[in-house]
């Protein structure tokens, strides 16, 4: 209940943020640019446009997760407004989870709008892709956003603004290359024990990538989707849990 109240205020706060409108502008430009790039291709215009559109949705949402989440949370700590909230009989976890829910809710709304735009553009091309495959692809990006936002909060609690943003971005990149990194480890001669430990801590974000599949009009079966949902929730819960533990033990000297 308290977390939901914090979430509601966070949502309203984000709507009044300048960075929100900057990122929104970026999202609109990215969609427009994808449409333009798709037109430049010789063949498979519909497929390539959709691929670019989905990539634009993903990149925009990644930037939303990282810059809005970290920026908002850090600013609360630096300006001291967090002290006013935490002086009330609420737990730090409620505050953090409330912030997370509020941000994710706003991201959901933005993604929904982007999905509608993508579907509208896709229908104008009459390509192979189906509405369901586009919805699935955007849905999986949302699941990825849940994990990334939780990661961003974890690093925001434990590091400075720039460090947290860089590390989260790096983990986003590594998370998408995880499979090939594991492959290279398996065929390498000198194997260090630390490598598998590190790789097991990095979530496999490729699970949420079905952009190419969607552009060919294929869909995932419900079991695959179910496991993607479970995996996303588990990863997000893990990062949020350790973020809450760290935040509960952190000195707030604002």
């Amino acid at each position: 209940m308290i977390a939901l109240r914090v979430a509601w205020i966070t949502m309203r706060e984000l709507i009044f943020e300048r960075v929100f409108y900057l990122l929104l502008t970026f999202a609109v430009l990215a969609l427009g640019f994808s449409l333009l790039l798709g037109q430049l291709t010789y063949a498979e215009q519909a497929k390539i446009t959709l691929d670019f559109l989905l990539a634009a949705v993903e990149v925009s949402m990644v930037l939303f997760s990282i810059f809005m989440g970290i920026g908002l949370f850090k600013r609360e700590l630096l300006l001291g407004s967090v002290a006013m909230v935490l002086s009330k009989p609420i737990s730090r976890s409620s505050f953090l989870i409330g912030k997370y829910i509020g941000q994710v809710a706003i991201q959901f709304a933005v993604m929904f709008c982007m999905l509608l735009v993508t579907l509208a553009i896709q229908s104008s091309f009459h390509g192979d892709s189906s509405v369901l495959s586009v919805i699935q692809a955007v849905g999986l990006i949302f699941l990825e956003v849940l994990v990334l936002t939780a990661m961003a909060y974890f690093f925001a609690v434990n590091a400075g603004t720039i460090t947290a943003a860089i590390v989260t971005l790096c983990l986003f990149a590594v998370g998408h290359m995880r499979e090939s990194l594991v492959y290279h480890y398996n065929i390498s001669i000198s194997r260090s024990w630390i490598w598998p430990v590190i790789m097991s801590l990095i979530p496999d974000l490729e699970i949420f990538n079905m952009k190419t599949i969607a552009s060919y009009g294929y869909t995932l079966d419900w079991i695959q989707l179910f496991w993607a949902v479970v995996y996303s929730f588990c990863c997000a819960a893990f990062f949020l849990f350790i973020a809450c533990v760290c935040f509960a033990n952190k000195d707030i000297a604002t």
């Binding site: 308290i2 309203r12 002086s87 000195d251 604002t254």
Partner: protein, 321 residues
């Protein structure tokens, strides 16, 4: 022991706090501080910048964990969420979400205090009246002056009718009128909630002198003194300053000692109440107009720093009485 059975609202036992400064260096902000604030007192936490005032307040709220020692707020450690149910906090620089109105801010913080909606609505109206923001209830915080934000922050601190009010430099950054308003407000809160303990930090001696019954003196993180203001200032004074004008050109007085002449008139220093009454009678007979009679009780500032230079006053010995 329940919170009502616990005799002190805030108690610190041998509390220390060390902050890391980089990898190797450390700074001891608070060193072995022990005191207990009895219920219903207005206590000032006094000391120069960097003396550990804010650190003590933040440790009492659970924002910062002490490196050593024990803190109890109404019998609960500050790390327990329950301890904050008894506390209202006003930070040095309160910040609110600027897009919210005064009423929305109080509703938000009231919900965090778990107040019922019907009760909260009544309480918000009461508090906006108390802090003089009834007319600005629907205005956004973005348009508020610093004084208005400070008064709104005071209102949010009072929402849950707390037993302890912790104010961290409440007058910081306010103009003289804002300070006066806030001082009057704190006085009014104490009158209306006599059972509430008000514990506030300040480095402005006159604020502490006018508001507090007791004072805790800190210097370089150490407790130097915890006593009643009256004891510190030496109780009632028998010395007065009398200023009068319209005296005849040639006049002589048998009482007091003339200490200055100003556009307001002539000022005498007088020892003892009998001599004061004689002087006032004499002045009336001479047809003079008495402009002012002031008690010459030493101020807290004179008591603390009267004999020391600014540099000395910043050292532990300077603040030590």
């Amino acid at each position: 022991m329940t919170s009502n059975e616990f005799p002190f609202d805030i108690s610190l036992t041998d509390v220390s706090k060390t902050y890391p400064l980089g990898l190797w260096k450390k700074k001891e902000a608070v060193r072995g501080v022990s005191f207990a604030v009895p219920r219903g007192e207005v206590v000032g936490l006094l000391g120069p910048n960097g003396s550990g005032k804010s650190t003590i307040l933040k440790m009492s709220l659970g924002f910062i964990r002490p490196t050593a020692g024990e803190i109890l707020v109404c019998g609960h450690p500050p790390s327990e969420r329950q301890s904050r149910a008894f506390v209202g906090y006003l930070p040095e620089n309160p910040r609110f979400q600027k897009f919210l109105s005064a009423k929305e801010v109080l509703f938000y913080y009231g919900t965090l205090c778990r107040l019922e909606k019907s009760e909260l609505s009544k309480r918000v109206d009461e508090l906006l009246d108390l802090v003089g923001l009834s007319d600005a209830r629907a205005e956004r915080i973005a348009g508020f002056s610093k004084g208005m934000v400070q008064r709104l922050a005071m209102a949010q601190a009072l929402l849950s009718r707390p037993r302890i009010l912790l104010f961290d430099e409440p007058m910081s950054g306010l103009d003289p009128l804002g300070r006066l308003e806030l001082r009057r407000l704190i006085g009014r809160i104490h009158e209306e909630m006599p059972e509430a303990t008000i514990f506030f930090s300040s480095h402005v001696l006159s604020d502490v002198e006018q508001l507090c019954a007791s004072v805790i003196l800190l210097s370089k993180g150490e407790l130097k003194n915890f006593c009643r203001i009256d004891e510190l200032l030496g109780g009632r004074s028998e010395a007065y300053e009398v200023t009068a004008r319209g005296l005849p050109a040639e006049h002589s007085t048998t009482w007091g000692k003339r200490i200055r002449r100003s556009p307001l008139g002539e000022t005498w220093s007088i020892e003892g109440t009998d001599e004061l009454l004689a002087a006032l009678n004499d002045l009336k007979t001479m047809g003079a107009q008495v402009v002012g009679v002031f008690s010459q009780r030493a101020s807290l500032e004179q008591k603390l720093f009267g004999k020391t230079s600014v540099q000395e006053a910043r050292t532990p010995e300077g603040v030590l009485l």
